[in-house]
């Protein structure tokens, strides 16, 4: 039975590999000069004075797709919260504070504010330099968890009231929608970047609505990562099965 399964896998894998190699040989050569979509995206980004073309693609030219992506993130967080909730036959144990080695504690407490500011910087400069809401949000959210490494779980819980992060996650999602609808009310199209002046190239306020949408995504990603990690950490640290049930 098992050998039959492996033989079937080998057959299918060989067929798929042959098809993939044939497809690769037919693709335009690696490093080629012709990138018509890329050239047009760069041109559109420069006319709207966004220095980081990728941010312009994400929050201006493909802002509607980013709305979908953000909804996937929101739905996944919602799914995790529902799946990882405390079940009827479980109870919460109070985690005991553990001894942390002094160098670890010192290093974590020094790096925490630096990492947090770095995350906020990456979010704020999304339309200027590499990075943006998605990347900076993850940096800022993980920075908070240095407190778990440097101190203990209760210290982390004190600076991380979950309800606040859940609310800000939802608020960030709705603010993205509201920014899109503002375009409709102003007489253009949903999520069209014509609402605000484009500003001066290579400054914090350039790019029209790009920095605003970018900030909304940054808040959403940071809160979503905090909520996700909190649910997994709760399972590992606090929630225990009822004995004798």
């Amino acid at each position: 039975m098992k050998r039959l399964r492996l033989a079937l896998l080998a057959l299918g894998g060989a067929g798929l590999a042959a098809l993939l190699v044939a497809a690769c040989l037919d693709l335009p050569g690696f490093g080629g000069r012709s990138h018509p979509y890329g050239t047009r995206a760069v041109h559109a980004s420069l006319t709207r004075r966004a220095a980081n073309t990728i941010a312009s693609v994400n929050f201006d030219q493909r802002a509607y797709d980013t709305l979908g992506e953000m909804s996937i993130l929101f739905a996944a967080v919602l799914g995790c919260v529902v799946l990882l909730r405390q079940a009827r036959d479980e109870h919460r144990a109070q985690p005991q504070p553990a001894e942390v080695a002094r160098p670890v504690r010192r290093y974590a407490l020094i790096v925490l504010p630096v990492a947090l500011v770095t995350g906020l910087y990456v979010i704020a400069h999304g339309q200027l330099s590499p990075g943006g809401g998605f990347q900076g949000g993850v940096v800022a959210a993980t920075a908070l968890h240095l407190l778990y490494l440097g101190a203990d779980y209760r210290a982390l819980e004190r600076i991380r009231p979950l309800a606040v992060y859940e609310t800000s996650d939802a608020l960030a999602v709705s603010s993205y929608l509201v920014l899109g609808l503002a375009g409709v009310l102003a007489g253009t199209a949903f999520l069209a970047n014509t609402l605000l002046p484009y500003g001066t190239f290579n400054t914090l306020s350039s790019g029209g609505t790009v920095p605003l949408l970018n900030a909304a995504i940054g808040i959403e990603v940071a809160s979503a990562v905090v909520v996700l990690l909190a649910n997994f950490l709760d399972q590992a640290v606090e929630i225990e099965e009822e004995h004798g049930s």
């Binding site: 798929l16 993939l20 990138h35 890329g38 993130l73 990882l84 997994f232």
Partner: protein
């Protein structure tokens, strides 16, 4: 030589994808299977970035280079890769949450031992 270089990055993507598929099909542990799915997904990053590369080009960010002074790589596929990474991370989180529930309800994470349905 050059013809090999022109397809090699695409072949690497295909290889990474097939490796992930092999791991998924022979996995004895659901957490390992979720990891294999992440390997499959990372092959799409390699493919997308390879499609967008241009010889001698730099990142499509104009805060420190003058527009038009240097060729830049394709920003559209880079944005697609970013989307891909975000969706991949959320799917991994959701699947791991499901595995956690399976481990609690059935006491095993071996897919072959999960046979009967339970209400």
């Amino acid at each position: 030589m050059t013809t090999v270089m022109h397809v090699l990055p695409y072949l690497v993507a295909a290889y990474v994808f097939l490796t992930g598929c092999y791991g998924l099909a022979t996995s004895r542990n659901l957490i390992h299977a979720v990891g294999c799915l992440a390997v499959c997904q990372s092959s799409t990053y390699v493919l997308l970035l390879a499609v967008g590369y241009r010889d001698g080009a730099t990142a499509p960010v104009f805060s420190d280079i003058k527009p038009g002074s240097r060729p830049v790589v394709d920003p559209v596929v880079q944005a697609l890769t970013l989307t891909d990474i975000v969706v991949g991370a959320t799917v991994t989180a959701l699947l791991l949450a499901l595995v956690l529930q399976i481990a609690k309800r059935h006491g095993t994470v071996d897919p072959d031992e999960l046979r009967e349905l339970r209400g």
